[in-house]
Symmetry: D2
Subunit: 142 residues, 4 copies
């Protein structure tokens, strides 16, 4: 999949996000790791939409990040207004992949794209669990 | 000044801010230091309103934080919607004080309040400079 | 108390800390809020020394930050080696004050100093509790 | 390459790193994005060893992160002592790959591993530049 050619239209679920001044590092662009906190927030909001409770800290029916592949296409800085898309592009028995792309306003090329492999996880038992039916319904491959 | 009794009406300048999931720490409330990044962003947006250019990295006519006094009145967590007020409550020759208060929606008592003593500073020369006339106009004591 | 004249010798408890590159902000010095994460870590290590368990997440016998007064005396940047002192300078029934000072190597003047007012707190019951006898023993006023 | 089977012995260059309390998130483990700030610091220290000056902010002979692939093998929490290895495992004309692995003490399986594709970059001209001869000497494929 060619990440750089992803566009807003490739996503049904889009969240707005504003950077903070501190999100810039010494190079005066948004730090590479800070984008991941934006995307994490979007994943969690997306999960809330699917019926998960972010404040259910028992986390018996939760998930854990197993791996991610991130591509940085452009630099970006504060101030800004971002739109971040999320899409479930793979479903397995115990894991699924979420694709994210982050866009600046008036710029069709994404700043950052990422694929996150998330595993169903019971934090209390510390063991993997099957992907829920609700998430399976979100599956929308390319 | 009784910080806990500050209200939105005490501020002319108010900015909205949304927490991110990562802003919570292991105690599952917004971390005390993270609020300071919210308030920093508000100070910078306020300075932009007063004619400063956040991207003027020469910073010959900038300012530096000398001290701050922060009071934590309530705990707060993600997700949330904050309103943050800013007000110049003291003006000196080379420094001034900005008062900030952060409010949750539907809650009149502030979560956090702070007074920031900011000194006019030329980063190129690394020396203090007088407070600008533009900032002096913002002076609004209690 | 004149914070700028604090010296290493004013502290019995000193912890080493190393900055990370990301601790610098767009001004290429350590960000004002990031120092607070250093000092937070030192407070927690200090509490561990006094018998508290950082991984006791029930937090029935814990504490919460009520306020802080921070003074920034010098700028500092990555890479660096810091020494951070901690000292209990006030004891009340339900609260106490910890003084912190952060020093660069080969520099007797502190970079940052702070006084943190900490309240005994039961997170489960969400109510204040008396200061423990163990902390009272640490009291060492100026 | 099987990331989970990487061991300390696979690395010549190893740096120690200590987590801070704030590095934990609401799940009370080190946040996935925070590991990237550890690895960033190690990359920068590694570049310093190769003759780059971290404080050369002109950055005419610098580099920029193009992409990364991160695998999370275990959870980890504060307090801890980490060892982080770095190794150049691919060299191209204008880019190279650094492999990182982060280990807890007394644990041979890595907590996190990552491959970072870094592009030679002139920040002043905002254009890619060839990989330096000095970095090419570090090339050590599997």
């Amino acid at each position: 999949m060619e990440m750089r050619t992803l566009r807003r239209e490739d996503f049904d679920y889009i969240i707005n996000m504003e950077p903070r001044w501190r999100d810039m590092d010494g190079l005066r662009h948004i730090n590479h790791a800070t984008y991941l906190s934006y995307l994490e927030t979007v994943r969690i909001q997306y999960m809330e939409k699917l019926g998960y409770d972010v404040n259910d800290w028992d986390r018996k029916r939760s998930s854990i990040l197993a791996s991610m592949k991130i591509d940085y296409h452009q630099q970006s800085s504060f101030p800004n207004q971002y739109e971040i898309g999320a899409r479930v592009i793979r479903i397995g028995n115990k894991s699924f992949d979420i694709l994210n792309a982050l866009f600046e306003q008036n710029n069709s090329v994404p700043v950052v794209t990422g694929v996150f492999t998330v595993v169903g996880f019971d934090y209390a038992a510390q063991e993997t669990i099957p992907v829920s039916e609700r998430i399976k319904k979100e599956y929308r491959p390319f």
